[in-house]
Symmetry: C2
Subunit: 292 residues, 2 copies
DNA sequence: CTTCTGTCTATTGTAGATAAAAGACAGAAG
DNA sequence: CTTCTGTCTTTTATCTACAATAGACAGAAG
């Protein structure tokens, strides 16, 4: 098992969705473009489609023979990349499981538990180390620094610096910048969700990320934008983990977002700064409350 | 060749230095402590010392028989860890060699050139990616983003945010904080170097890192402190690469540092901020001048 | 009863191998 | 003459293996 063929399986599944739209499939390079994979993978997909009698394929003609059935798809467990599986397992262990700061992290043990080789785990840990939650002792184990109060405070301190700076840039973006359009879209989604808050409050997490990432992006600074990954992953898993009072919390945050959005749209630096500060302050408090 | 024994070789060399101080060596755990290695490595070192008739070793008694000669040491090329070698080769390629932005980076080729396995190169690139100079195309190559003007501006923007914040913290450190002592030491070294600037201007680079790292550390924020790695590596290689007018540049920077140090020692936030801004501004300009 | 040494085990760092995926090139089809 | 397909080569992602290194434990020495 040198390499998982998850790219193939995932692209295959996505390719079946395209069948609904057209009776004849486009050329191989075009398909590759649409699915975001190379021609090699496209041909593997087409070959499998042919084997399953989903299409008739002869050189340039690719005719859809029948609509795909659920059994044609690969199960979703098989389409996740190894890196995603490792991340989930790891985060579950350190966030959900009682993981005390100072705990040792063992590459071999993690690999065995996840059912994978050590190399992948190792590379994951290296990438993950930039989130500041783990640290390497050279020639020895990793140490879990823990999702502690200090961590949250350090994270939010930088977040606030970066977001205030980005918000200040945002209000000075030229009228024709696509960010304004995206901001209006995000605003509309906010209103939709608020209108049906009882059913849709769960969609907040994703929307939150979308808004803040948009703001951070206007900094045009790769370090600021990259840092948003740290924030996103922490909040992502934090929302999954801590669902107490989610409805009220999210409703309040949505209102704050609307204020923030309005302030950005006013193009007034001062009120944007104030709205930004207010929201970040309550976001910080929410995060801190969930930490013992 | 599963693992290079550079830890052993480097510790062995450092161990020979200890011979000058004592006629009998301390216990194994103590030696391990002093050299920063495990007992396993200590015993390997002692075994080799015995083989070379450098010491007589019987259980607890370890008597030095003769002083080490140059030929006893391992050559310095063999004591560098693989990671260090890869970093140097890579930086030489991308800074010195005409490396245009957008260039593809090939793991296999790099590994062959450095004479190492792909795994190590790969892990290096993953670690290095946080410096914002390269980017991964999944399932495909890395792309060099280049040491460009934008890079320098983005880097210094964050640097200035972080250092201003850290300097503000610094002035409010309590009297007994060891940072004040370290600051006085750094100040003294500055004066020494300035007094003999023509011969010693080359020592500035290291001192610069020491001062700024001290300031950043007072933020007590892991993200700010970690970010200093990015700054340090960029300036480190930048100094090596760009030696034009080094004497004058360093002399001016030393003067600025002294102002900055005095402002910090005054405990006055306003003057610390001003001195910090002044120095960072000229550091930025120096960096930008070296980029075409 | 603390600290050391001898011995053994477990884990990390690195190389090498292999399937998956990307990508290059020439000739075919429009 | 542009875009496609067939074929082939190169590179990446991942596993496995193994030496270097760390670390554990029991008995020895003080």
């Amino acid at each position: 098992m040198a390499k998982q063929n998850t790219v193939f399986k995932d692209a295959f599944n996505r390719c079946l969705e395209l069948f609904a739209e057209t009776a004849t499939l486009p050329s191989e390079p075009e398909l590759g473009q649409a699915l975001g994979v190379s021609r090699t993978t496209v041909r593997a997909i087409l070959t499998r489609c042919e084997e399953l009698s989903l299409i008739a394929w002869d050189k340039r003609s690719k005719t859809v023979l029948r609509n795909p059935e659920p059994s044609d798809y690969f199960p979703s467990e098989e389409t996740d990349s190894l890196a995603e599986r490792i991340e989930r397992s790891f985060m579950r262990r350190i966030l959900a499981g009682g993981a005390e700061p100072g705990m040792q992290i063992n590459e071999l043990e993690l690999a065995r538990e996840i059912g994978t080789g050590t190399t992948s785990v190792r590379e994951f840990l290296i990438r993950f180390s930039r989130f500041g939650l783990i640290e390497k002792r050279p020639n020895s184990h990793w140490v879990l620094k823990g999702f502690t109060r200090e961590f949250a405070l350090e994270l939010t301190e930088v977040r606030e610096m970066f977001e205030l700076r980005s918000a200040a840039r945002f209000v000075s973006l030229p009228e024709e910048d696509p960010a304004w359009e995206e901001l209006r879209t995000i605003e509309a989604v906010h209103r939709e969700i608020l209108a049906a808050i009882d059913e849709r409050y769960g969609e907040f997490s994703e929307l939150d990320e979308r808004l803040h990432l948009l703001v951070h992006k206007s900094s045009s600074n790769r370090f600021i934008i990259d840092f948003y990954d740290v924030i996103a992953i922490v909040f992502h898993y934090h929302y999954q983990w801590n669902k107490a009072n989610a409805r009220e919390r999210n409703a309040r945050a949505l209102e704050e977002h609307l204020d923030y959005i309005a302030a950005l749209q006013s193009r007034d630096p001062m009120s944007a700064e104030q709205a930004c500060r207010r929201h970040l302050k309550s976001a910080r408090e929410t995060l801190l409350q969930s930490i013992p």
